[in-house]
Amino acid sequence: MTTHTEASTAVAGGTPRATAMPPPWRLPLLTIAAALLAAFMWPDQLGLISRVASTALLVLSLDLLVGYAGIATLGQSALFGAGAYGAGLFAQHVSGDPLIGLVVAAVAGAALAAASGAFLLRFEGFTLLMLTIALAQILLSLASTFRGITGGDDGLSDFTIRPILGLWEFDLEGRVGAIYAVAVLAVGLYLARRVANSPFGLSIRGIHESRARMAALGTPVRKRLIAIYAMSGALAGVSGAVTAQINGIVGLDSLGFALSAESLVMLVLGGAGNLSGAVVGASVFTLLHHTAASIDPYHWLFVIGVALMAVVLFPPAALAQQIWARLRAQRKASS
């Protein structure tokens, strides 16, 4: 029973086990290696690789909130959309430089997160969940009302992105886009790991485990939560910007409820609270989606529905643990 509950909290984004801290460069390097391998094996699927990478960045931003800080949210698309529209509008009106666009999107996401977080983070649990949904829906309604600025249902598409650093132009094949997305993801993973391993990150984990205890120790709980929310907003904004720059269009669906729900699903599929789960979950989900949805969108719903129910009833971490224990027992028996 104990092994079961331990494993299930690990899957559900419960307390991350704070034992050995992996070095911050390991996960980015592994991710780059996996992306290179994928690019060599399927050279005609570069677009898919860049989609996986930008989605992984969004899920990573969610992991900082759900997995580390224990803030349940279904409104991550608001931050993603702020970055996407921020980058798109910046490219349309000011400058098409992609890297400055990333900075603008990060600031947009962080500013929205900090401003909304000051209000949202007063609440917890189900109320917080509903308020985050409301925020995203309000932004969605605003974006579709002010169609003069955002393009409404047609999407924001009349912007051009200049070559990266003036050297590499985004090509139709998607090679530069894929490298760009993976590189930004690697930087994001590195920064997120640095944050998670820092004393600040540890205090966030502490707040997740017991707010009352951390407050008693003198930690400014609300300020720390707003800070991690703003960091998550910056990452989500960058993810939106990468998506906007590579696709050349920002649609209303970048603020939609489906995106928030799907990114949460990806996080749980991969495992919350250890950052690597974000990459694994985003890859598995996006590949499944790509394969199943190419047959029939309802087919996809069937697959993901069954997968979700199975993940909850038979958590992968618990299964892995059981298999591991059985293997060890066998080895012991044979030796």
């Binding site: 299930s8 649990g125 509903m130 409301a134 309604s141 009302t145 719903l301 993901i304 129910m309 909850v312």
Partner: protein, 285 residues
Amino acid sequence: MTLVLNILVDGVAYGMVLFVMAVGLSITLGLMKFINLSHGAFAMAGGYAVSVLAGTHGWNFWVALVVAVIATGAFGALLETLVLRHLYRRPELQQVLFTIGLTFFLVATANAIFGPQVRNIPLPSILSGSLDLGFRTLPTQRAFVLLAGLAAAGLLTWTVARTRFGIWIRASVDHADAASGLGIPIRLVQCLSFGAGAALAGLGGVLGAELMPLEPYYPLKYLVLMLVVVAVGGMGSIPGSLCAALVLGIVDTASKYLVSEWGSLLFFVAMGLLLAWRPRGILNR
């Protein structure tokens, strides 16, 4: 003046539909602390059942309605007994994931059985006429929605306030373990209230079919709407859900009449304000 009355009549009718659909979800949340995101599927099941029985097989509408509501309730109770009750003690996130997965599964199943197109529910002649109220004509279907909503609210309140079963429910909401220790058959209470909530959602699916057309994506489309009603009303509170549903229904109808280009902006702003004002429910200080 006429505009205000129009908004009130349509808003209250819409609110009644929201209440009937969402109250079961509120009970499940309050009683079992179970977040059931697949609740919309019960509304869809009720709608499809009437559409098949009355439309395809040509049953009498009222017979079909009663059979559909009972069948939806039984479906809910069965689902609860077989699967969902094992998730009551799991963390919230797992409940959310499982039930959203179940919703996806049921959406795909509904598409496989009924096809992707919108199904309509054939109304009997008495419901397709209209009543003259003096300042406007009220479709009898709307009047039926109002009456059915009032009846459901009254019946629920009476059950909870006056009957032995209501006492059991209130005791279980307050403290499930203590209630169980006092000999209240808590499993029966949970299963029956889940089934009743599902049956009501099925009724809501039929009542609201005019406003919320019946199609496979139905449970996902109107999920947020139901959650909003439950959150604003406060978990487990029947009068709270009614109050929240009416307020939100009127706000949404008013914004459709007056500033239709703003979409659902006002609805969610109203929800945010109400939640910020009373986070534990509109009637709970």
